[in-house]
């Protein structure tokens, strides 16, 4: 809109429009406040929460859906599936479904969506995060049966396909779209750049008809404003408000956000190459003291980098006790054996990694100083932090205690174990051949055996190697307006199914 046009619109609205404050909307329409607006609305980018929370399972659906509680997959656009060979899976598709543009949902649409996601012209996050390396291809067996083949055996292919959204064959390949066309219970209606996105109910939906007929998404990065919008009735639901704004127990609901915070230790560099020093660091941090003070009291102590919703999570690990005396004793022992425990260790944080993360690193650094460690604290901006997070690590780097946050919402430990702990993992500081072999083997297993092997991976990292300092499985607060009957779950870290919103 041009400058003068904007002036004209604002002035004319001032003259003719009545004030439009709280609750001036349809009884079955909702307004949802997101922390940030979308940059695109492409179906192949739904693993990014900024896009997924708007269109995933609302506009574009997947063949299968994750059941985070039971560590399994549920049918959605696919009725059933079976592994017909180690590198081959056959999916039976639901029949009688049409896309919002009227084209039929069939095997061709599945092939088109996969090819579009795999097209190197786009850096689709579904490919770069989940499908990269699988070389997965789809072919048509018949109109309602699709066959997926992979380069090597991928036992969790259905889990991966829970990330692949299916869109109409009319969605162009090789370019991002701002007009997602799916089969979901809602149709994309409009996107006013910088202001809002609107969805409307798809009355021809194949499944149960949802209660909500219209959803408008707006975004406010200031948490107190987002919370105030629900408070005043201007909006019905606000994602991710800061703990200090979650002051109303009636409307503010906590849910695990699939993020786990921990300190990574540079295990190759003295004095952190001595396991006693690493144990001392774990013993010196009073994790419990943070809960209810600067970290939400609903967060949970972590013993590994994945949370309970992930297959492979080891529930048998016990939290480190807070025992500064034992920490001092271990450091003294190490010192007596010639370990330079007085060497400066750099603790690296990142502002706003999570609510109060600055205060957290300051307090943690002080706790470590309390047991005699020489800690220098640095807070780095995102790209500088990323440079340190990823390989290649600087050859001459100081020993680091590196604050990091890992988000595994895929439901499987494969997306953590290799990347974080295998010798070739991009963010791994470990070089343990036995652990490498176990990680690789766990990745080839399925079912109970897979869970068991990943359990062992996390046990070794935690108890034998003491590679890092697991801190907390984090939570988010969502403010849900009084009109709505809705309880958030971990799935809301990346999506919000409007069909699950009920009115009171």
């Amino acid at each position: 809109m041009s400058f003068w046009k904007t002036i004209a619109v604002v002035t004319s609205t001032a003259l003719i429009a009545p004030p439009n404050l709280a609750s001036a909307q349809d009884a079955t329409a909702v307004t949802i406040v997101l922390p940030a607006g979308p940059d695109r609305l492409d179906p192949c980018e739904t693993p990014r929460s900024v896009i997924g929370r708007i269109i995933k399972q609302n506009v574009v659906e997947t063949l299968v859906e994750l059941d985070y509680d039971k560590h399994t997959t549920l049918p959605r656009l696919a009725e059933s599936w079976e592994q017909t060979a180690p590198t081959e899976w056959v999916f039976k598709l639901r029949q009688g479904i049409t896309f919002h543009d009227g084209t039929p949902f069939d095997a061709k649409a599945v092939i088109h969506s996969l090819e579009r996601t795999n097209d190197p012209a786009l850096t689709c996050i579904t490919r770069t995060k989940y499908l990269d390396g699988t070389d997965v291809k789809a072919t048509e067996v018949d109109a309602h049966t699709a066959k997926f083949t992979t380069k090597t055996a991928v036992p969790i292919l259905p889990t991966l396909l829970a990330q692949l959204t299916i869109s109409s064959v009319k969605t162009p390949k090789g370019e991002y779209t701002a007009d997602p066309i799916g089969t979901g219970p809602y149709k994309f209606d409009h996107w006013t750049q910088g202001e809002n996105v609107g969805l409307v109910r798809n009355d021809a939906y194949w499944g149960e008809k949802p209660v909500i007929d219209k959803a408008t998404y707006v975004w406010r990065s200031e948490s107190s404003v987002a919370a105030a919008m629900v408070e005043t009735g201007e909006a019905d639901l606000a994602f991710s408000i800061a703990p200090q704004d979650a002051t109303n127990p009636e409307t503010d609901k906590v849910y695990p956000n699939s993020d786990s915070a921990l300190f990574r230790l540079s295990v190759d560099i003295p004095p952190l190459n001595d396991v006693r020093v690493r144990k001392a660091i774990n013993l010196a941090i009073d994790r419990q003291a943070f809960l209810g003070s600067i970290i939400s009291d609903k967060a949970e102590l972590a013993m590994q980098q994945v949370g309970p919703s992930v297959l492979g999570f080891n529930a048998n690990l016990k939290p480190w006790a807070y025992d500064p005396e034992q920490a001092k004793a271990l450091l003294a022992q190490a010192k007596a054996d010639g370990v330079d425990v007085d060497r400066e260790i750099r603790m690296i944080g990142r502002p706003a990694m999570f609510a109060n993360s600055n205060e957290f690193v300051e307090a943690a650094a002080e706790m470590l100083r309390g047991v005699g460690l020489n800690i220098k604290l640095d807070n780095l901006e995102m790209t500088q932090w990323l440079k340190m997070a990823n390989k290649p690590f600087a050859e001459d780097r100081q020993p680091n205690i590196f604050l990091t946050m890992h988000d595994n919402n895929s439901g499987d430990a494969a997306f953590t174990a290799f990347f974080k702990y295998h010798s070739n993992g991009r963010q791994s500081e470990l070089h343990d051949a036995d652990l490498d072999a176990l990680i690789v083997d766990a990745g080839t297993q399925s079912g109970a055996k897979r869970a068991e092997e990943y359990n062992e991976v996390f046990r070794r990292i935690y108890e034998d190697i003491v590679a890092d300092v697991p801190l907390f499985h984090m939570v988010n607060y969502m403010r849900v307006g009084k009109r709505l009957d809705f309880t958030p779950t971990i799935a809301n870290a990346v999506e919000l199914q409007l069909a699950r919103l009920k009115l009171k």
Binding site: V10, T13, N20, T128, D132, E175, S221, E222, V225, L386
Partner: protein
Amino acid sequence: MGSFIFKRSLQSVFSLLVLIVLVFFLARMTGSPADLYLPQDASAEIRHQFNEQFGFNDPLYIQFGHFLWGLLHFDMGQSLQFSRPAVDVVLQAFPTTLTLAAFTMPLVILVSVVTGSLAAFRPGGVFDRLASFISLIGASTPNFWVAIVGVLVFAVTLRALPTSGTGTPLHWILPVAVLMLRPTGVLVQVVRTSMMTALSSAYIKTARAKGVGSRAIVFVHALRNGLLPVITVASDQAAGIVNGAVIVETVFGFPGIGKLMIDSVMLRDFTVIQAAVLVTALAVFVINIIVDITYALVDPRIRYS
């Protein structure tokens, strides 16, 4: 006047180019966009592919050459975050900020000139002390804090105004009020000082001796001369409204250029940063030219030719 404007334009184009060159190279020293746009566990191949696609694998001088060539054709490149031409993204956001400024600045000038002049009329009086106190608070209170308190008071507690967003005239009240605070605080001080100097000058004494009324002395005789420094400071404040807009647009969800610039810096969206700097710098240049012309109109002693 014409040759002056031409000379000033040339100087501004030169400054603009220096600015753009600095932005181009400094932005690229801050890290690779691939780190921010790709998942942390993206493979080296995908990272290479990404950098290749956007030309980040080329040496800097080649990238700069492409940039200059594009600039000659009014093409500032594609936005990484929006997958649209950067110029389109910036030109879409700019009118919002400009509209905010267009509402804010006249109000700032009106309030400051009236308050500052009245304060200067009786220095040390009750009104003067009150005006100085309030304007100092206005000039020194952080915008983001006032904005949030404004939402809590006027939207949550009184339910008189919407919390944020756009749509009705009521949506503009809080953002404009917050944006006015700092420049008004500064300008009231400037008007007061400048008017006090003018009011103590010989020609005012003469006017008083001739029996000219107080109102005419302040608003007719003194104001014209007292306005010169005010114009200079007001133009600085107008240019600085983009800074204030960053806060206001972020808190109130206004899709303007201030928030766009911050987001683009955070996301290393180089093309949008460049386009936003160029457009903002052009606006500042236009403001400065307008100020120079206004100077000439207010004070006929100034001759640019």
